[in-house]
Every structure is written in structure tokens, then in C-alpha cells.
């Protein structure tokens, strides 16, 4: 997602244009970010709307803005903003419903372009990815900025959308650069000028600095990245804690050791739901957790995965959002286990509260090739205690034959079904 901010004074010198490109020696990391992705994809079939404000959002009263094109952003419309707020800011915008499946299809096509150029592609979401191109330059016969320009040309030509690229020597600088290049631009931060690029920026630009940390830094008189870089490490540790202090100290000096990790493996699987009206009713919420747990468990089983950590996400009526997680003794792909943990987490975190959104996620995934801790309630090949996993697997089979509604826990039947 872009930040859509005008480039700060003087930063034009980092912009790569057709004529001039800053020195990109040693800048092996690219961050590529699609511009207003969902909106741009929709506009391919509605080119007449291109100059008008366009917002992609669901139709429900609680829907949020999924994507807004740049004309809409000029009115202050932003991703993740409630649709109602967007309509107040920009009533004249064209509001389009999202097209199911379309964005992941385009995303796969774009990722395929990246992977032709380098195997080291780390997708962050549907619309952005890190690439490490340092090993591919000789084969491609170009420089990192050359790869960036090639990507921008090919994405536009083959998919009809634009993207922005940040080229730098480390990940977080590349990501900052792509944000500042938006829309439809490329910024190259020469390795030797990384600090010159970083230091005038506000501390909030540092990876890992949210609102709380920013306030904390400002209380200590640290407004810019240069201020953080000048602060002795010991003082940062004391002010922010050891881990965060060391992290920000390294970043402020342009150090970010994270490699680009090509990852096709999923790290977690989750499902969530926003309610049309805030929900107090605990029984209702528990049923919703069951529905979500069923969905997560079924997709775990479909992918041959199990997870050890169950987490819930709760957004309250006042938009305060919490996540709580618990690690199980053994990895699971069983909805009953996931649901039991999710309900316990909800009871502890928010015994009574009005809930706007609720989500269930399973993390710490491992494949079925990793061995499964057996338990007394389900010893292999025994009868006796209920074997939930087998029941759920049987339901998977039924659903694959008869559709998603074929088999559900009785508590998920509505009263008029029977």
C-alpha cells in the first residue's frame, strides 16, 4: 500500500527517470509495490473512470475501503477506512464492489514475472514483494535499477497496472523508497548514500515504529532518524528496552540484516469476520469462532498442514484491536481444538465487550511429514473416545461432494433449519 505523500524536498535526486539513474552499485534489494492495486485492476475494464475518484469496497454497512485510486486519495480516502467515512470525504467517488478471485489471479501473474528474473522473491501480500536481484545481474546483463525498470515495463504491458519500485542495499530502505516513489515511479538509494537518504526522515519511517514508539521517541527528543542515529546505543536501550533499542539503532545506521526469503510456504492461516452490528452476545461470538475455526481447520487439512499456535483477533466497538495467542502441546488441524482454544482466549481477553470484528488464526505451521504427538483420547486405531479429526475429515469429504453447507456442527444451524 502506498503512502501517497509528495516526495520530501531534495529527494528528487534519488528518483530514477528515463534519463538519469542514481548509482545502484550494491543495491541488490528491490521492493515492488502495486499502485492502488485493487482499484487499478478494476479500472482495466472501466477505463472511462480512470480520472475520477474510484473506491473498491464491500457493500455491507461495516465494510472498509479495500483500495482507492489516486484521485480518491486526494480527498483523504485511504485503505482500511470504514466506507461510511470514505463516503463523507468523497461522496462523488465511484464505489465498486470487489471482484472475487480477480486480484489473486493478477497477483500470481505479477509474481511470475518477478520469479522469471530471480528466484529470491518474498511476497508480503497480494500487491507487494521484496526481490533480491544481486545474483541475477550478470545473467540479465543489467543493474538493479535496470531490473526495476524492466519490471515496471512488463507489469504495465502484461497486466495493465502500474507499480512503484524501491531499489536499495537493504530491505527496509527499499520499502521506504518504493513508498516515496509512488505512484508509478522508482527511487534508487545508492548504498553509499543510505544515511543521507534516511537521516532527514521522521522516526515514524523506521520499520517497527508505530504510534506508541513514535510518541516515546519524541518524548526523548528524537524526531528524525538522524536524532536516533546520534543517540548512544545504551540510551536507546534504556529508553525503549534492549531489543527495540538495538533494532532502531541498527536501522538508523542503515543496517538491516534480514535476507530476502523466498517463501512459498505459508506461515499462518486465518479467517476473520466483521459484523454488521457490534456483537455482545457471547454465545453468538462462540458460534462465530466455531465457524471460523471450521474454515481454518478445513484449509489446514486441505494443504496438509498443522499448527501449534492458535490466536484470536478481536476488534472492539471503539476500534481498539487486540490479538491473543496460545501455543498448544501438539500441532493440530482439528476445528474442535482450535475452537476450544479460541473460546478460552476470548474469555480471558474480553469477558464482556462489544465486538466489531473477530478472527481466528493458526500459526507455527508444519507439514504432515513431521510426526504427530498422539494422545490418550485418540490413540491410533482405537475406539472409545470421540475421534474428532476423523469426523472432521469425513465432513471434508462430504463437503467436497455436496457443497459447503452439507456438513456443519449442529450449533451452526440456524433455528429454522432442522
Amino acid at each position: 500500500m502506498g503512502r501517497n505523500a509528495a516526495l520530501p524536498d531534495g529527494y528528487d535526486r534519488f528518483r530514477a527517470t528515463g534519463d538519469t539513474t542514481p548509482d545502484d552499485t550494491g543495491c541488490g534489494v528491490l521492493h515492488v509495490d502495486m499502485d492502488a492495486f485493487f482499484a487499478a485492476v478494476e479500472l482495466r475494464t472501466r477505463p472511462e473512470l480512470a480520472d475520477r475518484p474510484v473506491v473498491v469496497a464491500g457493500a455491507g454497512p461495516r465494510s472498509v475501503v479495500l483500495s482507492a485510486n489516486y484521485p480518491a486519495r486526494r480527498y483523504g480516502v485511504r485503505s482500511a477506512m470504514p466506507v461510511g467515512a470514505a463516503r463523507r470525504l468523497c461522496p462523488q467517488a465511484v464505489y465498486l464492489p470487489p471482484t472475487r478471485g480477480l486480484y489473486s489471479e493478477v497477483s500470481r501473474g505479477v509474481l511470475a514475472i518477478f520469479r522469471e528474473l530471480t528466484p529470491l522473491v518474498e511476497p508480503l501480500s497480494l500487491d507487494e514483494a521484496f526481490l533480491d536481484v544481486s545474483g541475477a545481474l550478470r545473467r540479465l546483463g543489467t543493474t538493479p535499477a535496470g531490473v526495476g525498470a524492466l519490471i515496471r515495463r512488463r507489469v504495465a504491458a502484461e497486466h495493465g497496472i502500474t507499480c512503484s519500485v524501491g531499489v536499495a542495499s537493504v530491505k527496509f530502505v527499499a520499502k521506504l523508497a518504493s513508498g516515496m516513489a509512488k505512484p508509478d515511479g522508482m527511487l534508487v538509494v545508492p548504498a553509499a548514500r543510505t544515511l543521507e537518504f534516511l537521516h532527514p526522515l521522521p522516526v515514524s519511517a523506521l520499520w517497527g515504529v508505530g504510534r506508541k514508539t513514535e510518541e516515546n521517541l519524541r518524548r526523548h527528543g528524537l524526531d528524525t532518524i538522524a536524532d536516533v542515529a546520534r543517540t548512544p546505543l545504551e540510551r536507546l536501550r534504556r529508553a525503549l528496552g534492549t531489543a527495540l533499542g538495538e533494532h532502531l539503532h541498527a536501522l538508523a545506521h542503515g543496517r538491516d540484516e534480514r535476507p530476502v526469503v523466498p517463501d512459498s510456504e505459508e506461515k499462518s492461516l486465518g479467517a476473520e469476520r466483521t459484523f454488521d452490528v457490534d456483537q455482545h452476545d457471547r454465545a453468538f461470538l462462540n458460534r462465530e469462532l466455531l465457524r471460523l475455526s471450521e474454515r481454518v481447520a478445513a484449509s489446514l487439512r486441505a494443504k496438509g498442514l498443522r499448527g501449534r499456535t492458535v490466536s484470536i483477533k478481536v476488534r472492539f466497538a471503539d476500534f481498539r484491536t487486540i490479538t491473543r495467542a496460545r501455543t498448544l502441546f501438539a500441532a493440530t488441524d482439528v476445528a474442535r481444538d482450535i475452537h476450544g482454544t479460541a473460546v478460552a482466549l476470548l474469555d480471558e481477553a474480553a469477558p464482556t465487550a462489544a465486538v466489531r470484528l473477530i478472527g481466528v488464526r493458526v500459526e507455527g505451521l508444519s507439514g504432515e511429514d513431521e510426526g504427530e504427538q498422539l494422545s490418550f483420547d485418540a490413540p491410533a486405531g482405537s475406539g472409545g473416545a470421540p475421534r474428532w479429526r476423523e469426523a472432521e475429515v469425513a465432513a471434508d469429504v462430504a463437503r467436497s461432494k455436496f457443497g459447503a453447507a452439507a456438513v456443519r456442527p449442529a450449533s451452526l444451524l440456524s433455528p429454522d433449519e432442522g
Binding site: R326, A331, T341, A344, G371, Q373, L374, S375, F376, P379
Partner: protein
């Protein structure tokens, strides 16, 4: 209230009582310790107590009492202060809403909390039986190792105490392993058979601190009130029993086996710890039994692998069975024996671990039942 008390006795008493206090009390008074000077029939003793509706702890300390009385102060703070005091007599005086503590040249003044808001401590339940403190502490620790730590399944965080005549049986399970200890004790006269479920962690803490003083531990039961009491070495505790059904565990105990191995406990435990260094958290260690040798291995191509071979006295077909290394080491450590007998049938059925003597014969009284890890494929 105005009293004088020896520093060491006071510090020990307060530290012990404060340990059972909740770290985040739901209301402030429950984070307090109650100091009660001479209210018990005017004896020259200070009683230190704590209670959070789940656990109570009470201990007496000899004291010179100038003025009797009761006061309630923050347990954590009092524990920290008494621990840090110099080795000199301590004077505690309460004046209005503040308590002062003077020791040598050090002087503290603490706010007190209203004693009348403090809950009535439960009476010590009726005596059920006696056992030497050391034996009790060991038995409880041997069983507590298998108790669940996950509060979402309360019955699995408990330890079942079964009283059958002069036999006391302790059992705990977290669904993946089960530990059981049987031993004889001195039941109180006229006591009927009984079975209760107590929080395993609380019981283990109490048994350890009461057993450390030598002497005997008196176990009291008030099943009607849902209370278990332990007393020994001048310390008294009560714990609220868990109101949950313990799983029918006896049907889990295997009646036969097809493989039997006798192993050196420390050699095996050390080898498991070494080999499992390459096993990522929660993954298994594989045990390949063959005539005369046991090959341990863990890990794979991605994360590195390790193996080690040990001599073993083994009867049965060659077989590979895998376990969570942590669970296996827990069980071996709980045996309190130099040698162990391991029996099982197939790689997906539970294995039974028991202590063995130098001849390889089982020492009765303890067992650790462990579910294996099912290997892929």
C-alpha cells in the same frame, strides 16, 4: 499492635506466605498478608497468613508481644523488606493506618489495608492421614510432572488423590502422558475411601515446602467444602479442590507388552538431550530398538540430524518408536532410579516406563505412561 520478632523467622514466614499470593490480585486486600499478634488466646506468637480464596497459607513465628492486634499489609512489599533487613530483631508497630517496621537503623512505614475487608481464612480440614514429609514431597513431584499446564482443560491441571485404606495413590495426566504413584501412609482412624482432585502445581509447591522441614505432613480433607489441607513443620495450607471429573485413567494402563527394554537412566537421558538439540521445538526423537542396542536419532536433512547408540537389554522384535524428547526426559527424571524398564507393543500405542533395580527388576509403586509421536508415512 506492637511486637518484636527475630528477623530470620519473620523473613522465612513472610516469604513462604507471600509465595502463594496472586501476582495480580483481583482486589488489593487479597495481595496482603495478615499479621496477627496474640489474638490466638494471648500466646506469645505472631501468625502470618495469606489467602486468595484458592489457597491459604498460615505459619506461626515466636514473638514478644507488647500490644496484640491484627494488621494487613502488602505481601510482596513486606516480603521484599523482610528479606533485605539486617540480622537484628525487628519491631513492628501499627499506628492508625500505617505500620512501621524498625530493624537496626532501618525504618519503614507502610500503609495498611482494612483488616475487616479481609476474608475469613478457612479452618484446617479434618485429618485424613499422615506421611513423612520427604516421601510425600517426592511422590507429588513425581506425579506433578505429567499434569497439564493448560488452564483450558481444568481437569488435566489437577492431581488426583485416591485414598484406599492405607494406600494413597496420586495420578496426573495431560492427555499425552500419565504419571501414577502408589504408596502406603498412615490413614486417620475411621477414614473411608475417597478420591479428590487438587490443583497439581499448588500441591507440588506446598508439598515441597512442607516436606523440606523433615517431620511428617498431615493431610486433611473436607470434601464437602471442597478443601484439601496440608500441615507440617508449623506451616498450614489449604487448597481449593477442582470441581472436575478426572478421566477414567485405569483403562489406559496397558495389561501386556511385546517389547521390553532395560536402560541406564542417566545415560539415556543425556543421550536424548544431546540428540534432540537438532530437533526443532516439539519434534520427535526416534528410538530404534534391536537386540543389544538402542539407536537414538533426531532431525532431518533440513535442520541437521544427530544419532547416538546405547547398549540395551532388549527383548522383542526390532522396532522404531518415536517420542517428544521433553516428555521422555521428564519421565526418566521422575523415576528417581538408576535404571528404567520401558515396555510397549507397537509404535503408535503407549509406552510404559517404570523404575528398575540393579537386576533389571521393576521397583513397584511408580509408572509413567507416554504416548508416542506417530512418524509420518
Amino acid at each position: 499492635m506492637k511486637i518484636r520478632v527475630e528477623r530470620d523467622g519473620l523473613a522465612d514466614a513472610v516469604a513462604w506466605v507471600a509465595r502463594s499470593l496472586p501476582s495480580r490480585p483481583p482486589v488489593p486486600v487479597l495481595g496482603g498478608v495478615l499479621l496477627d499478634a496474640g489474638a490466638e488466646g494471648g500466646s506469645d506468637a505472631l501468625t502470618v497468613s495469606g489467602f486468595d480464596y484458592e489457597v491459604s497459607a498460615t505459619v506461626g513465628v515466636p514473638a514478644t508481644i507488647a500490644d496484640g492486634g491484627r494488621t494487613l499489609v502488602s505481601g510482596r512489599l513486606l516480603a521484599d523488606i523482610t528479606k533485605a533487613l539486617p540480622a537484628q530483631p525487628v519491631e513492628i508497630a501499627v499506628d492508625g493506618a500505617r505500620a512501621s517496621i524498625t530493624c537496626g537503623n532501618a525504618r519503614f512505614s507502610l500503609p495498611t489495608m482494612p483488616v475487616e475487608d479481609y476474608p475469613q481464612l478457612p479452618a484446617q480440614p479434618e485429618l485424613a492421614g499422615e506421611v513423612t514429609g520427604e516421601a510425600f514431597a517426592q511422590a507429588v513431584s513425581q506425579v506433578a510432572v505429567a499434569a497439564g499446564k493448560d488452564d483450558t482443560l481444568p481437569m488435566l491441571t489437577g492431581m488426583r488423590l485416591e485414598i484406599t485404606g492405607s494406600t494413597l495413590t496420586l495420578v496426573a495426566t495431560d492427555r499425552f502422558r500419565l504419571a501414577m504413584r502408589e504408596f502406603s501412609w498412615q490413614p486417620a482412624e475411621g477414614l473411608g475411601d475417597a478420591a479428590v482432585l487438587a490443583p497439581a502445581r499448588t500441591l507440588a509447591d506446598a508439598a515441597k515446602s512442607l516436606g523440606a522441614g523433615g517431620g511428617t505432613v498431615r493431610v486433611g480433607l473436607a470434601s464437602g467444602d471442597g478443601l484439601l489441607g496440608l500441615a507440617g513443620s508449623g506451616r498450614y495450607t489449604t487448597t481449593r479442590l477442582l470441581d472436575a471429573e478426572f478421566p477414567p485413567y485405569r483403562q489406559l494402563l496397558p495389561s501386556d507388552h511385546t517389547s521390553r527394554a532395560v536402560l541406564q537412566v542417566s545415560a539415556l537421558a543425556e543421550a536424548i538431550k544431546r540428540v534432540s538439540l537438532v530437533a526443532e521445538r516439539g519434534t520427535q526423537v526416534r528410538l530404534e530398538f534391536a537386540d543389544g542396542s538402542l539407536r537414538l536419532s533426531a532431525g532431518g536433512d533440513d535442520e541437521g540430524s544427530a544419532e547416538e547408540e546405547l547398549p540395551v537389554d532388549y527383548q522383542g522384535e526390532p522396532v522404531t518408536i518415536a517420542f517428544n524428547p521433553g516428555y521422555l526426559v521428564d519421565g526418566l527424571g521422575a523415576l528417581h532410579a538408576d535404571r528404567a524398564e520401558l515396555t510397549f507393543t507397537t509404535p503408535n500405542r503407549p509406552a510404559l516406563i517404570k523404575p528398575a533395580d540393579d537386576n533389571g527388576d521393576v521397583v513397584p509403586g511408580y509408572l509413567y505412561l507416554l504416548m508416542p509421536v506417530r512418524l509420518p508415512g
